[in-house]
């Protein structure tokens, strides 16, 4: 089952396309990371996925074919919006009441126990909680719905490192315990490198790259060699701070067994290097590089 399936999906605001020609299928059971710089269309894609906005073109279905935004789809999705909005003038107990009464399923005992564990008093006003506590409240309310898919829009952007860690720990616990799939967006990759098992790379409203993290890493290699030689190899340059400019780093589509040009070294790229290289040179799709023959094995590469 695919938790998200988009075909030719696009969203236009006025004359600007926030998202365009987006075709992807994310299978269940992953932590899928939607990565891209600010304004890449991440929130737009998530809004379309949870039915907060309607597509200008194409279609998107959720949880194995349910129309995005339909009651059936919403019933199975726990969504935590960017900046984790809560009703500031309601108490934590009232927030639980509201979420409980707006859903068919709601595990009140879980929500109360979890908030107590976090030291968030039910009598406090949601607006008086710290940013991290508000995020935890919103996440708890989403998880208490027992969703099959958890959608998180920039969940950690506003949080300090400790709160980030706690937040992601809650997500991973839920994933391990309930088998919930996760789709989250972020513009900071390092936080997600450890947890993401599926990657969707977005830039300027277009999908650059999508696939299982393992497959993507297996089908790309990092070439290191003399800068003077770099022009002869087509690949995506990867910048490495602090390294000598005489050395070039190129990301190419290749596997570990592929031949290496003389004078160059090869190693596995990290997820961050992979993402950075694609985001930096979105158009430089490898056509003549050493990995050309391997192109068919790349899960999905888009222009």
């Amino acid at each position: 089952m695919n938790i998200v399936e988009a075909r030719g999906l696009g969203k236009r605001y006025g004359s600007t396309w926030a998202l365009r020609d987006c075709t992807l299928a994310i299978p269940a059971g992953h932590v899928a990371a939607l990565i891209g710089p600010n304004g890449a269309g991440k929130s737009t894609l998530l809004h379309l996925a949870v039915g907060l906005s309607a597509p200008s073109q194409g279609t998107v279905t959720m949880l194995g074919g349910l129309a995005a935004g339909s009651p059936a789809a919403l019933d199975g999705i726990g969504y935590v919006a960017q900046d984790t909005p809560v009703y500031k003038n309601l108490s934590v107990a009232d927030m639980i009441y509201v979420a409980c009464h707006l859903n068919r399923r709601f595990d009140r005992a879980y929500a109360e126990a979890r908030l107590e564990e976090l030291g968030i008093s039910r009598k406090r006003r949601a607006g008086k909680l710290s940013g991290g506590q508000q995020a935890q409240l919103a996440l708890t309310l989403a998880l208490a719905r027992r969703p099959r898919l958890l959608v998180l829009d920039e969940p950690v952007a506003m949080l300090d490192p400790v709160a980030r860690h706690d937040f992601m720990a809650t997500v991973m616990t839920a994933m391990a315990a309930d088998g919930v799939s996760v789709l989250l967006s972020s513009h900071v990759l390092p936080e997600l490198e450890r947890v993401a098992s599926y990657l969707v790379l977005l830039s300027r409203g277009r999908v650059l790259l999508t696939g299982r993290v393992d497959d993507l890493l297996a089908s790309h290699r990092l070439l290191t060699g003399p800068s003077a030689d770099a022009g002869r190899h087509t690949g995506r340059p990867v910048a490495h701070a602090g390294l000598a400019e005489t050395e070039a780093h190129l990301l190419v589509e290749a596997t570990a067994g592929d031949p290496v040009p003389p004078g160059w070294a090869t190693r596995e790229a990290s997820l961050e290097e992979l993402a950075l290289a694609y985001l930096r040179e979105p158009g430089a799709v490898t056509l003549h590089g050493p990995g050309h023959e391997m192109g068919t094995r790349t899960p999905e590469v888009m222009k």
Partner: protein, 348 residues
Amino acid sequence: MTMLTEQAGPADDQSLRPVPWRRMAGVTWRQHRITLAAIAAFLGALAVGLWIAGQKTHHAYAAMLAACHPVVSAGCDGLIASFTGMNGFLSNGSALQPVPVLIGAFVGAPVLARELESGTFRFAWTQGFGRWRWTLAKLVPLAIAVAAGTGALGVLLSWYYQPYFASVNQTFGVPGVSPFAPGLFDLRGVASATWALAAFAIGALAGILVRRVLPAIVATLAAYAALAFATGAFLRAHYLTPLLTSTPNISSSSWIISQWWTRNGKFAFNGWPSYSLIQQFCNQPPPAGQSKATGLAQCLSHHGYTLWTTYQPASRFWQFQWIEGSWLLALSALLIATTVWLVRRRAT
């Protein structure tokens, strides 16, 4: 993990029963109880004030009636003066004109505008209840509360003005207050509730269109003012065909729509006779006990002039109330339906 759900296939999901409507009652109450309490306190204070003032008015009226009817006794004039003077307190209801629109706008405009402004719509509209049902389940009870509150105020105001409307007053020279007086008609009966309802519905629609609380309230006040003005100035007089009469004695409780004069069966002029005409025929003061207008009409009739008047009699008050209430109710329903449709259409 007490409620672990089974992985349901799409076929099971399609037959999901929606979250029951009644679940929204407590949600709406929790989110709007502060506003509703503030409105209740405001209306309560207003009601107490009206009740105290009304007691005085009713006492003054009873005293006046005892002194002036059926036989005029000493002190009648003074009691009339003090009774009619009390009407200045509310200046025929004008002082209370903004109440329905304020209540409607302050309850109606934030319902959606606050959610959109603070971003909480992203929470509310992604819950299992569904966004258009959420909108409808919020707007309807709040609309009923707003209409009920202002409707109750209208009943109290009717009681307050009861002595001024009594037709017996004219027999001893107290000018009648027309129930059609612009400041009074829309604050009583069906109109008071439905005008507040209309303000609420305008506010709700402004909320989703403007998406910010204060601008939405301002837009609501402006739209309401335009609607109320247009209704009073152009629409209300035409709910029923006015009656036509050539009697110069029109009850002061009637609503005079237009007046013109004819001479020998032909149209002469509109409205008040010109100064030269009065100088020519009727420069004598009217006989005692007759108003200037009636005296003038009688005088000019001796010279072949006839005064024609179209008017709405006070007896049509309730017919007019129901007509105005009906179209305001229909308008409010239309505005709320449009709001729900906009939410459903995902205008984000």
